[in-house]
Amino acid sequence: MKENTEKRRRHRSPEQRRDFLRSLCFLSPSVLGVSVFFVLPFAVVVYYSLTDLGGQFVFLDNFKNLFRNQVFRLAAMNTLRFSAAAVPLAVILAIVLALLLEARIPMKSYFRTFFLSPMMVPVASVVLIWQVLFSYNGTLNVLLTHYGADKIDWLQSEYAPIVVVLLFLWKNLGYNMILFMAGIANIPKELLEVADVAGAGELYKFFHIKLRYLSPTVLFVTILSLINSFKVFREVYLLTGNYPYTSLYTLQHFMNNMFGSMDYQKLSAAAVIMAIAMVILIAALFAAEDWFGRDVEG
């Protein structure tokens, strides 16, 4: 306690003030750049979302219009559904892969390389290959007909989101897996040995020890996958264009098309909602992680 007050008093000393100025010297280039290229655009978004075409302040009208807009509702629902399916899969499968590689199997480092390889494939060839695999005359349908099943138009039907989820997983699992492998390496070995001696089963060890220690990693991977689930629009767009099958029309398509028609009001309102949703989700995830990893330090 006493130390604490001493520290606080020191904070006002001239030495500390000089330190503050020094730190400002180091921080200012970055803070300046971030302000211009990241914070200022965000301010512009907020401004547009609250004003009408003539710059008149309209408070929440743009948001009300947006929520009444059928297309926006469709896009928001599709995005929500996609992320709700893709993100948990990306987390769970990455844990499974990390645990698999953790078990001492031969050629471990090769497998790691293989799983990371999607990182470097250019988007264009990913899209080409996905077309070869999933288009109406594509490889998958060739296989299906070979086994007597009917052809499915994967990209132009209710199945389309599944194809995109597969693409998303292919792209992101390796990265997530590395994060989990690092997390697993940080679990104290003694704890697992004690559990072994006490005769704990693999499942018990996983849920009561490993997962506890992994909870910060789970949080990070969840957030990362969430952001990446928005990025998959790039591939969807190249696969199916501006107006894809209804179930693939996401918020990003909506925003893209609003940009095309110069409707900055709707666009900004959608962006603000997206930002608010992100902040709420992240806060909720932080709270969940706090609760879940409550008696684990670090």
């Binding site: 799983f115 999607p118 899209v127 490889t139 910060p216």
Partner: protein, 291 residues
């Protein structure tokens, strides 16, 4: 007991192998198919990409890994006959190299600021950086367009380079690395009368050399494959990087697309093979957001 474990391990291995094959398939397919002649490509994939040139087109797609006859015609066509691909490739280099260099430099200085001095204001700024880092790019991409219009850098490479140079991602990651440097090292240098700049360049930077590598690799791979920033901020086609142009190669030139994608993959591939340890370390250290 032992037998059971052995069996389990074999199963693990097989499972991994299946996953690995699926993951590796697109990469391998891109590379091997780039050595097929136009005719072979059309015969194999004509069914998918309707409108592909003449010749025999099978009704169904024929996924093939090994070319019938290795042919460099796609490379010759793309690299020698039409130099525009080389120009775009060079455009990519001119955009990505400055971004990587600038982002790492700016981030190193800022990360030192965040590591060396802590306080309420600075932790708030740092937290704000994390939030910005986590924002989907769609939120600010269009306003970025307006800001670069206002700064008169729209449709110049600065519109891509400047936001890239200040992206908060590297600051976040590098700060996490730097906080691991023992404080005693810095304190000792200070006692010896070193200035802050000297502490930064002579003690801090050498200590996190591998971190700088891994961040540079991560940033490079990310920006090398960018598509949407140049589409919006750099509309003139002659300035765009190859990553954008690759997606515009039309359906009749699939073979060319594979060949150019392979060429484009080369730098990432080399970096990947030489710096995988750094790459993995860079990813691994992101760990928890709070740290």
């Amino acid at each position: 007991m032992r037998k059971k474990r052995y069996f389990g391990r074999t199963l693990d291995f097989l499972l991994c192998a299946v996953f690995a094959l699926a993951f590796l398939m697109p990469t391998v397919l891109t590379i091997t198919n780039s050595f097929m002649s136009e005719a072979e490509i059309n015969a194999n994939y004509g069914a998918v990409f309707a409108g592909g040139g003449g010749g025999y087109v099978s009704k169904n797609v024929n996924l093939k890994f090994i070319p019938d006859k290795v042919s460099f015609s796609q490379y010759i066509g793309g690299l020698i006959k039409s130099p525009e691909y080389l120009v775009k490739f060079w455009n990519s280099v001119l955009l990505v190299v400055p971004i990587v260099a600038a982002q790492v430099c700016v981030a190193a200085v800022a990360a030192y600021g965040f590591t060396r001095w802590r306080g309420r204001v600075r932790s708030f700024i740092f937290f704000f950086y994390v939030i910005l880092m986590l924002m989907p790019y769609q939120v600010t991409l269009v306003p970025n367009y307006l800001v670069s219009e206002w700064l008169h850098i729209l449709n110049t490479s600065w519109a891509i380079i400047l936001p890239g140079a200040f992206a908060p991602f590297s600051v976040f990651l590098l700060t996490k690395f730097m906080r691991r440097i023992p404080y005693a090292l810095i304190e000792a240098a200070k006692v010896d009368g070193a200035t802050e700049w000297q502490i930064f360049t002579r003690i801090c930077l050498p200590q996190c050399r591998s971190a700088l590598y891994s961040i540079a690799i991560l940033v490079f791979i990310d920006y090398w494959n960018m598509v949407e920033q140049p589409l919006i901020l750099l509309p003139s086609a002659d300035k765009q990087p190859l990553s954008v142009f690759l997606s515009n190669i039309n359906a009749g030139e699939i073979g060319l697309a594979f060949a150019m994608a392979t060429v484009y993959m080369l730098p990432s591939l080399l970096i990947f093979l030489h710096g995988e340890e750094y790459l993995v370390e860079g990813i691994a250290h992101q760990g928890s957001v709070k740290g």
